[in-house]
């Protein structure tokens, strides 16, 4: 790689792509002792060319590769793609399908936030307890998903025009059971993690991102809301059943790593509320309208936005006459947040030990930034 040059006084450390905390990217740190002077993110280690693949697949086939983009949060991103197809082909979706979609999306969001939460614990060296607690609690969600969709992660559950299957017998009750169990567990997380003195010392006042910087650098999702700006696609342009559901957009005013972690923590609470609402109030009716297997599209374009666990995901689909999309542009939240991460060390003083904490407070998922 044509690596940027460094000042002679600094030492360049390369983290990753094999590093416990870097994930699938390479992070170059220019350090002077412990102090970080510059961060360079070298992305692309999981680049698969999904945008090109989608051009060669039919509309329905595209659901499979696009769900592999964010394996931990497949429902949200799959929904974005499906919504783009529906809008460009003009397909109506029945009411019940909207509600089921919201339910699955929230399940998926909790699972994603839990994962981020566990990694945040691990990044402070708190591997033992919390990280594996979150994996335990995710099994509750995964079991629910498995019962509904037949798969643990990649379920390809949303189809243009509705969802694949109806809720199983008594599924609502099990959702409520799971919600109650998770609520109890979340009290433990608060005591064990957020109120832990060492964890507080590690996260408070680390990497402060001021609101104007967050807007200027294009941050999104919990990173933006952690800076006190209330932007959430679910509220701004409600899709699925979010217009009917009662929830609030979580913001924290502290702007530091702890604020971003707390946003995730409290968003999980909102998601649990929403799951309960869906389980209690879901309307009846059909679950999908017919979607023809072979569809010919008209020239046009659709830009659909969804709120994934990591922030706003935009899918811009251009159609021409034919069976495939002409081009699908995926605007991923992680790529936006990674730029913020690169700049954070200039905005606020950062030590080497802070970098894992900061990167996990950003919660990147490189598979979606690399596409």
């Amino acid at each position: 790689m044509s690596e940027p040059t460094i000042t002679p006084d600094l030492m360049r450390i390369s983290w990753g792509p094999q590093h416990p905390m870097s994930g699938q990217t390479r992070i170059l740190l220019d350090v002077d002792g412990e102090k970080v002077h510059k961060i360079i993110a070298d992305l692309g280690f999981t680049h698969r060319g999904i945008e090109k693949i989608l051009e060669n697949r039919s509309f329905l086939q595209g659901i499979v590769p696009i769900e592999r983009m964010v394996m931990i949060d497949t429902a949200n991103i799959g929904l974005g793609y499906v919504m783009a197809i529906e809008e460009s082909l003009g397909i109506e979706v029945p009411e019940r399908a909207h509600w089921i979609r919201s339910l699955v999306c929230e399940l998926s969001r909790i699972s994603s936030h839990l994962y981020a939460f566990g990694l945040q614990a691990e990044s402070t060296g708190y591997f033992p307890a919390v990280f594996l607690w979150t994996t335990t609690d995710r099994t509750v969600l995964l079991d629910l998903m498995e019962e509904l969709t037949g798969a643990r992660f990649s379920y390809n559950f949303f189809l243009p025009g509705g969802v694949m299957k109806d809720l199983t017998e008594g599924f609502e009750d099990r959702v409520i059971e799971g919600v109650q169990y998770l609520r109890k567990r979340f009290e433990d997380y608060w005591t064990a993690m957020i109120e832990n003195i060492v964890f507080e010392a590690r996260c408070n006042d680390v990497a402060v991102l001021k609101p104007e910087d967050a807007i200027r650098l294009g941050a999104t999702g919990p990173v933006l809301r952690g800076s006190g700006i209330s932007i959430d696609v679910r509220k701004d342009e409600p899709y699925a059943a979010y217009g009917d559901l009662d929830f609030e957009v979580i913001t924290e005013s502290a702007c530091d790593s702890m604020a971003r972690t707390k946003v995730r923590y409290r968003e999980i609470g909102q998601s649990l509320n929403m799951m309960e609402q869906v389980a209690n109030e879901i309307p009846g009716g059909p679950i999908r309208t017919r979607f023809p297997l072979f569809t010919r599209s008209k020239p046009g374009e659709v830009y659909s936005r969804v709120e994934t666990g990591r922030g706003e995901m935009g899918i811009h689909m251009f159609t021409a006459v034919g069976m495939n999309p002409y081009r699908v542009k995926i605007n991923s939240p992680t790529l936006r947040n990674m730029y913020v991460f690169e700049r954070l060390c200039e905005l606020d003083e950062m030590l080497m030990a802070d970098v894992p904490v900061v990167i996990n407070s950003i919660d990147p998922w490189y598979l979606d930034s690399d596409r």
Binding site: M11, I13, H19, P20, M21, E34, A121, E122, S123, T124, G125, Y126, F127, P128, A129, F131, L132, W133, T136, N196, V198, F199, A201, R202, L351, M352, A353, D354, V355, P356
Partner: protein
Amino acid sequence: MNVNILASIWNYATEFLAVNAKPLLQIYVLPGLIFILGFAIIAVWFERKFLARAMLRVGPYYCGKRSGVLQVFADFLKLFMKEIIVPKDMNFLFFAAMPVLVSTVPALALILIPFDANWVLWDIGSLGLPMFFAIAGIAPLIPIFAGWASNNKYGFIGAFRVAYMYISAEIPLVICGAAVAIMAGSFDLVEIVQAQRNMWFAVPQFIGFVIFFLGVIIESERTPFDIPVAEVELVLGWRTEYSGILFGFTMMAEYVMFQAWTLLFITLYLGGFNGPVLGFLGVTGSHIFWMLAKFAFMVVLIVLIRTVYPRLRLDQMLDLGWKYLTPLALLNLALVLGMKMLGVY
């Protein structure tokens, strides 16, 4: 003729054993080889099982009849039979000597610990405590050399973190040790223990007790102070380049260091080998028993701390060392001197 030679050899051997039974036992069994190795093995197994329990898991299970006891042996044998990779442009002897030294030098300090008034391997009287600090004070130098020798950036940074940390931790430790020595009126570890017959020093010197407890965790590089080997930042710190059995030695060093400092902590503050005499063990036996029991309690406590706290940052640790522990240690010393002058103790 032959019979005579054999008989004389037999006589010699029995005489030798009769005279040297105690030193041999001390060298090979109690403060010596078997205790050190056995502790490392049991501690690793216990820690893995205990942490697994804290994570709601089972931990090592299938290796060794559904208990995982043989897990450590499997790991050790595997490491023993693994290729050793030496970094390019590096003196192999220097590189390989460091892990061996880092696990043996703290073990030398163990020979000063009294398990009973008569069960001290190297009884040097009033030089006991200074000698312990001298030997244990060399130990941090070795990781620094090891990190430098591995020609690796992670190792290098890890080595310097070791240097920062030990200096900030060892000064309060030495001051606390001095306070204990003043209170007991002697540098002799046996006499320090005997001075605690009525009351453990943990009570009059509570501040020193807390400082020394933190110091023990810092010296043995355990969470929340495992900063030089912070996995999420430095991969494995100064151990990064060591492969095969050399890595096994560096892992063992952590436990040996832990053992030496914890035993000193018990000696200085928790009454050492003092305890009610158990009839069936005899006086020496029950002293050794109490020492080991206190040691086991400390091990459980320190492993428990690992499950509860994340890791501190280096600057926070240095703050703790210089801004809090050192002044508090001096305060502790002043309090002890005051008590001595007023004749309270």
